[in-house]
Point group: D3
Amino acid sequence: MRIHVVNPNATRSMTEKIGAAARAAASAGTTVVAADVPSAPVSIEGYYDGALAVPGLLAAIAAAEADGADAHVIACFDDTGLDAARSLADAPVIGIGEAACHMASLIGGRFSVVTTLSRSVPILEQNLVRSGLDGRCGRVRAAEVPVLALEDPRSDARARVAAAIAAAIAEDGAEAIVLGCAGMADLATTYAQEFGVPVVEGVSAAVRLAEALAGLGLRTSKAGGWARPRPKPGGFEGTAAAV
Amino acid sequence: MRIHVVNPNATRSMTEKIGAAARAAASAGTTVVAADVPSAPVSIEGYYDGALAVPGLLAAIAAAEADGADAHVIACFDDTGLDAARSLADAPVIGIGEAACHMASLIGGRFSVVTTLSRSVPILEQNLVRSGLDGRCGRVRAAEVPVLALEDPRSDARARVAAAIAAAIAEDGAEAIVLGCAGMADLATTYAQEFGVPVVEGVSAAVRLAEALAGLGLRTSKAGGWARPRPKPGGFEGTAAAV
Amino acid sequence: MRIHVVNPNATRSMTEKIGAAARAAASAGTTVVAADVPSAPVSIEGYYDGALAVPGLLAAIAAAEADGADAHVIACFDDTGLDAARSLADAPVIGIGEAACHMASLIGGRFSVVTTLSRSVPILEQNLVRSGLDGRCGRVRAAEVPVLALEDPRSDARARVAAAIAAAIAEDGAEAIVLGCAGMADLATTYAQEFGVPVVEGVSAAVRLAEALAGLGLRTSKAGGWARPRPKPGGFEGTAAAV
Amino acid sequence: MRIHVVNPNATRSMTEKIGAAARAAASAGTTVVAADVPSAPVSIEGYYDGALAVPGLLAAIAAAEADGADAHVIACFDDTGLDAARSLADAPVIGIGEAACHMASLIGGRFSVVTTLSRSVPILEQNLVRSGLDGRCGRVRAAEVPVLALEDPRSDARARVAAAIAAAIAEDGAEAIVLGCAGMADLATTYAQEFGVPVVEGVSAAVRLAEALAGLGLRTSKAGGWARPRPKPGGFEGTAAAV
Amino acid sequence: MRIHVVNPNATRSMTEKIGAAARAAASAGTTVVAADVPSAPVSIEGYYDGALAVPGLLAAIAAAEADGADAHVIACFDDTGLDAARSLADAPVIGIGEAACHMASLIGGRFSVVTTLSRSVPILEQNLVRSGLDGRCGRVRAAEVPVLALEDPRSDARARVAAAIAAAIAEDGAEAIVLGCAGMADLATTYAQEFGVPVVEGVSAAVRLAEALAGLGLRTSKAGGWARPRPKPGGFEGTAAAV
Amino acid sequence: MRIHVVNPNATRSMTEKIGAAARAAASAGTTVVAADVPSAPVSIEGYYDGALAVPGLLAAIAAAEADGADAHVIACFDDTGLDAARSLADAPVIGIGEAACHMASLIGGRFSVVTTLSRSVPILEQNLVRSGLDGRCGRVRAAEVPVLALEDPRSDARARVAAAIAAAIAEDGAEAIVLGCAGMADLATTYAQEFGVPVVEGVSAAVRLAEALAGLGLRTSKAGGWARPRPKPGGFEGTAAAV
């Protein structure tokens, strides 16, 4: 099985961390192909960055689809461009944000999400409403850590995330924690041991969900909003692949 | 007052129709500047088309903001790129979809939306949840008319829309109708007379709401998800204006 | 355009302040006719006061409707008697509470309301559910200030309202503030400057929305709950005008 | 125990039917005092009629409260003036609409309401949201029967109500039926036998609930929205009793 | 009238307290038959205990139904086995949890529940969603008191419950308090006097509601999810009575 | 990896079909141990049957947990006893109903469920509310087929299920179908080909989800409602294993 994991920003070091997390989570027999989007911002911090990343992301989805990917993972916790990607693909497409929240809801009655910046909180809240899991989420909390600070071992990023986890358990009644950024993919085990509750990380959750869907032979429905893009006069439809 | 009305697709004839509707609705003293997005698809029919239109739309917003627009109107009923545009702008930004639904909720206890294609229905349903007006909406109905068929006087588009309106009144208990496509901007009066209920069209509704917000001196809050984009290492932030 | 602004209590000084706010907000060419309801309580503080105010309010609506008002504004933040007034009128009727919340939702992702007394909180919460905007509201907060204390420069009313605004920003994540009493109509600019977020006041918001609706030619739908009152045996229907 | 049952309209024959239903439902030892509101419309058909009935209704509540009523029942299915009445009374106040729906939810997983006119449907839908029972209600259906037609044995009112009940069972999955008008108080048993599902009528349900609350010593909380009306400068508070 | 009150645990002293509370609340002419479930755990603290109690509880319901009970009360605040019991019975079945919350919603605009252990909180939250009363509930609070500590006068159970009530009033805006355990049946009056808001206890509330339903002749609908159990090949249906 | 799949009824032929479906879905390296509950009813058709099945089911969970199962699957679409089983187990526990709905929500914007009997519909509706996926579900439809008729090749069960699927696509806008009974485990491929939309079956979905959770090292949180059962005076806690 081939799983295409696309980091929708342009930071190669994040792609490498994401790829490593994906490969560590994948079953034997699964090939992970990790890619990033060179035309995208170096990090996705809010609606604007996400919107600029999508055309390149869609081109990556189209290319991997043509290469025979069995499933796609969008490795930004905002689930950037997820609906558009599903329109483009026949294979299943999973966002790491929704993946982590679905998984968390199966092992915790209530979970809280700890993300980077407060500007991302409404995006994640809207995604939770969209998936239906908002009622299972205690609160989306921001650690107020820029995405790339997670890449910098000298920053206080890890301590800030830990403080937000502690608050989620104490104040939200969180029974499980969801780490709300792909850049936190290497921290789940540490926090799980520190806090004694399950900690779910999106990249690994999405890879496993993608394997599950592809293994069941399930493909994205084309019967509704995720129907294939309509051809346009002037051939616009092919544009994404050319970005 | 200067209101920037941007048609986020590349079809000039739609821009002209939208501009005319906007000018007809505007108060004395308001200047309407209508534009389109040449880099966008010729019509926005579903998630994929919408995603591709956004970077060019954001560049248009940035340019108009720099030119001193008092408010922006996004003239696609999907409210394409609305959150990202609000991040970029200090002036108010109004989508014609939300504008029509807010207005309809003030003169009808329950309204239904009649849009073009069924693939757009989930987009509009999600937007209604986002604005909070889903509980006021009886149903989002698709007339199964491609967007550009509305531009073609020989098509049966108008009859199909009329049939959907009739069904909305009979089956949904709709007390008002919202026309769910910028390409229907010239049809509201005709349908209102034919069906005897208020018919709300988005371009005119949005222009009036934009005037209202700008007239009150209200500007987009920068305190949450619509905070200005963060500068990126390598200067990515300026990219949209260069698309 | 003629807009009828009715203060549904009997306090003339509030009517004057409301009328001034309405005129300051109105466009050139709009005539504001401000009135109050002499048969009503001197202030509306809770369900009981509101219920007693309604028959006189309806008589005022009926009279202004007969005089050719293009729209009506009910200038109590409780939106007192709004549904009944809409039944009676063909012209649009806007409550200042709903008007402010609709406007705030367009320039802030989340807003909080600051009202006078805690007994009014459930009324405003119910109105938010009714309009659908409850999901956009962080919290309805009471400053614990009687309505008429706002008229008294020696009271600590302004400081109490400011404290509630500060709490809304810090604790609710409010990106915009809605002032929840017609008696606060003159305070919006001051607080906006003090707190750096948009502050929406209902009288001006409602006047602008009323202009927008009337300018669009939209009238209250008679197809559902706002159908005209049924004539009664014995001619009861005319009673309101005689109160 | 003394239960004050107030028909908030001016039709004496309805009051007599309501009083008979109340007495038939009451326990041994309960005295039912039935009254109507001479200053109100002859029937309550929509928001406007309801609003005009409230001041006289409140005066009736105040008088009965002073006379030592142990509980009050508002015998209009719209629960006309319920919140204002609760502000005025220390004894429990029950609306027949909410009473019937609470009871129906205890013996049927899903119930539908059959009321008189479609203009009343949004009122009842809002009341269901208010009580929280909307999720338990399949649909509020109008039989399109004017209230006073129920008093006229020559009308087809009973057949129309029966047709709506049949539709509720077949289409809504209703396991129980709520009769949505005080004027239907004498029909519950007939319909229950005809349709083989429980049929709940509001007057009897409310009398029994009122007995239950009063028997438990429960009184209306004064800690929130139902706090006693504030005294007004000029003594307005006493006005209701004088209407 | 005969009301069957079943304590679904095996602790006889709780049954006696429950029986006393039920008899104190019952009307003249009502016979209360209190029973417990010897095969059940000694207390119900969480999902697991509840699940083990149900077969014996259902046998008790079946036996009392055969003995001609006019209504059944399930005297655990978790409303243990309520849907299954309703399938088995024609007479009304009331859980003390739902009973208390329905009653509280009629005399308080917002109520909070104070229960024993935090592990029971999600059960009660789910029940509130099921009844529809979750929107009326400020918060379900745990006093962190084991059920049987309420039976022990030397424990600090009463003080802990009082502290939770105080917090509910101060922080949740609770206008009424619901005591969330059958073992608190004797404490309602004390707390009501101490805190000055209505305090609702489930056993008495359920007995009164059961009287009300039975007095109205209402029986559990067999038209939906509460249809009688289907006979099984091999006669399994009778098993419950044999537990 | 060892996955314990428990059919909570007593019908061995269903267990064999379920076991075959589970093994067909499992990855290489996964051992499926399928079991049934001899003390349970022969089929679970409604609340009552489900309640009687749970103690034996819990004993099976406890035994498999002691035997070192890496995950448990409850193979009844009602997710019978799921919360209690999660309290008992440290390994993840997945119900086939929730599993199928989570999976369907990832490949279809809206799905409908087709189950056996209408008495099961409210159970499934409540489970959807519990998981949060109710907003993603068009409708839960009953084919009116008894569970064991699915085992009988002469019955018209398959045609009835097909008719319900057709209705779901036409009337509910379902983009994917969920088969709502473990006894339909062998029918998914056939229906997917016949109807051209994804068809999700619960046993295979749950096995794959269980593998995913166990593979990620996620275990059931003990921090909230799924805390381990409290020891009881008299040692009741061990009872389930002895049933």
